[in-house]
């Protein structure tokens, strides 16, 4: 084991991907000379050169579309969009081309592009840099959407995404880049199909993903002090959803709290609640609880940003209501 940061784990994944496959290249705004807006790709330009680490103009639609075209042309592009709110400028390409070409062409045109999108709140970046829009992308058939929330996933999801013959969106938590922890020295590719139980428990299931995993785990820790045993499920892959792992947990605990940094209405939390209602309603001993972002654009001041987001106290309160 070694101590490392999420930033370094993502970079290690990038470096390995570039080293093992000549078809892989990275492009996006400031990924080269600047080293990446969040310093994830620092040093890669010097190591791999201008051909494979490509600074682009501020043209999200054009360079995401170019990634799609390059994928059609036999390359394995990794496209970085600086933050999730900017990804909306490329939504045409992501939805109308990347997610759609295979079907629209009757199976002829797979699009093996990987799009990395820093996302999420926590840095006081205000209402155009802090949102959690993963749920919108998880709505779209044709995409795989993943949310690395641990160091191992930060290190290992990219390699697996690059093997996928179809588009994969990787949502990286901006607030986690600087966080550090222990990572196995032989950490490598991880599966992109399954949710994982991060903490076993028996009284209540807390389902979280991406930026909501940390408050869910913190809440579980606190709940344990009070004698409430909370199981924490990390969804990891938001599309396709691993419903079965969630259902298995609910069948054990009979109570469900979904923690989602996205807005409540029409959210992933709503999807999880609906699936549990469809498949395990009679397993539930209490109504489903949802802890979501308050439905406001994320404000700048720290106290308001924190108030807008699910925190451990909110999760604990919801879990206690569920446990009764």
């Amino acid at each position: 084991m070694s101590t490392t940061t999420y930033r370094e784990a993502f970079r290690a994944g990038l470096r390995e991907a570039l080293a093992v496959d000549d078809r892989v290249f990275l492009m996006g705004e400031d990924v080269g000379r600047y080293g990446g807006c969040f310093a994830v790709s620092q040093g890669l330009l010097e190591e791999f050169g201008e051909q494979r680490i490509r600074d682009t103009p501020l043209s999200e639609s054009a360079f995401v579309g170019a990634g799609i075209g390059a994928a059609l042309g036999g390359m394995r592009p990794i496209v970085e969009i600086m933050t999730v709110n900017f990804s909306l400028l490329a939504l045409d390409q992501i939805l109308n081309n990347a997610a759609t070409l295979l079907h629209m062409s009757g199976g002829q045109l797979g699009v093996p592009v990987v799009i990395r999108i820093p996302t999420g709140p926590g840095r006081q970046l205000a209402a155009q840099h802090s949102h959690t829009l993963e749920g919108w992308y998880a709505h779209i058939p044709g995409l795989r959407v993943v949310a690395p929330a641990t160091l191992a996933d930060a290190r290992g999801m990219l390699a697996t995404a690059l093997i996928d013959p179809d588009p994969v969106l990787i949502f990286e938590q901006i607030a986690l880049y600087g966080a550090s922890g222990e990572l196995a020295d032989d950490a490598g590719p991880v599966d992109l199909d399954h949710a994982v139980v991060r903490r076993p428990g028996s009284d209540v299931t807390l389902v979280a993903y991406g930026g909501s995993l940390a408050p869910a785990l913190a809440a579980a820790e606190e709940l344990a002090v009070d004698g409430v045993s909370a199981e924490v499920v990390d969804l990891r892959t938001l599309r396709p959803l691993d419903t079965e792992t969630v259902l298995e947990s609910v069948r054990r605990t009979h109570r469900l709290v979904v923690v989602d940094n996205g807005w409540r209405s029409g959210s992933l939390s709503a999807e999880i609640a609906a699936r549990v209602a469809e498949h395990a309603l009679y397993e539930l001993d209490a109504p489903v609880e949802r802890v979501c972002a308050v439905e406001v654009p994320i404000p700048y001041p720290r106290h308001l940003e924190e108030a807008a987001l699910p925190g451990p106290a909110d999760v604990m309160a919801a879990a206690r209501r569920a446990v009764g």
């Binding site: 579309g65 075209g69 036999g74 045409d92 009757g106």
Partner: protein, 325 residues
């Protein structure tokens, strides 16, 4: 074969290809009227010289990106007529297995990347195809066809800049038929000289008479050769006109009959046909024989398309993700 004989043969082929497209589109109108084809149907009658002139300038391994008004482009690229009709009938033998319809013709084997019905949405993809060829050191060119309406979209400007910045082998072919659906160029652009605007990005750029298939062909060859030789992307503004409405739903109230009549005097099919007759390359009997050959091909293609099967409903969710064996 002497140079002049080869040129005669080439011109006859250009005429034949334009006739195939013209008659194909006319049959499509009939089939639409009888409800055999549904959805949107955008005809390129009047614009055949663009399709034929541009597409014949490409090699078999070059790539093509097109729009929703792409029947002519697909046919000129060599997509079998039967596969295009079958696509519009929604049959499994369609060039997109019937999943796409008129606006989404694809043929990966011919590097025909469709069939994009978001105005300007295909342009970034063309840049990426050219990037892939350049990075893999393949001496190939991507032709990207779009209409004048696309020149108002951000993706157009972003893509021209990116292609020029990276000197990618793209030939941007703006099929300027004067109208973005019902809005005339001058009603939506302060500067209507599109070739001039493209040149401002650092591309070599030409405005071409899009009704003259020989002019289109020669300009396309020059642009393709330039891009292939490492001269960077090129831009062709091909000034043309659609004789029919924007789509089958369009009542065509936004332009005068006199204007349409004026452009019809420069019908690209008739321009070339009359030149060939005047020069004695073909006579009226040969022209009639050509028409008969094209009509027979269309009859066979429609018949085959009609006989093809529909995809079983159980297969509805196929092709959302790749089928990995």
């Amino acid at each position: 074969m002497t140079a002049s004989l080869r040129e005669e043969k080439d011109r006859l082929e250009l005429l034949t290809e334009m006739l195939r497209i013209r008659r194909f589109e006319e049959r499509s109108v009939e089939l639409y009227s009888s409800a055999a084809i549904r959805g949107f149907l955008h005809l390129c009658i009047g614009e055949e010289a663009v399709a034929v002139g541009v597409l014949q300038a490409l090699g078999a391994d070059d790539a093509v990106v097109s729009t929703y008004r792409e029947h002519g482009h697909a046919l000129a690229r060599g997509v079998p007529m039967q596969a295009v009709f079958a696509e519009m009938f929604g049959r499994t033998t369609g060039c997109s297995r019937g999943r796409g319809g008129s606006m989404h013709l694809f043929d990966a084997s011919r590097r025909f990347y469709g069939g994009n019905a978001i105005v300007a949405g295909g342009i970034p993809v063309a840049v990426g195809l050219a990037l892939a060829d350049a990075m893999q050191r393949r001496p190939l060119v991507t032709a990207c066809l779009f209409g004048d309406g696309a020149a108002a979209e951000g993706e157009f400007h972003e893509s021209l800049n990116l292609a020029a910045l990276w000197r990618l082998p793209v030939v941007f072919c703006c099929e300027n038929n004067q109208y973005a659906m019902g809005t005339a160029l001058a009603r939506s652009h302060a500067q209507t000289d599109l070739a001039l605007r493209a040149a401002s990005y650092g591309l070599r750029s030409w405005a071409v008479d899009g009704m003259d298939v020989l002019a289109v062909r020669d300009a396309a060859r020059l642009a393709v050769d330039t891009a292939r030789a490492g001269g960077g992307p090129c831009f062709l503004e091909l000034r043309t006109y659609r004789f029919r409405a924007h789509s089958m739903y369009d009542a065509d109230r936004y332009r005068g009959k006199a204007e349409i009549a004026r452009w019809r005097e420069r019908d690209p099919v008739e321009l070339l046909a009359s030149a060939l007759v005047a020069e004695g390359v073909i006579d009226t009997a040969r022209r009639a024989a050509l028409e008969a050959e094209v009509a027979a091909e269309i009859d066979r293609a429609v018949e085959a398309a009609e006989a093809a099967s529909l995809e079983p409903v159980e297969d509805l969710t196929r092709f959302v993700r790749s089928e990995v064996s």
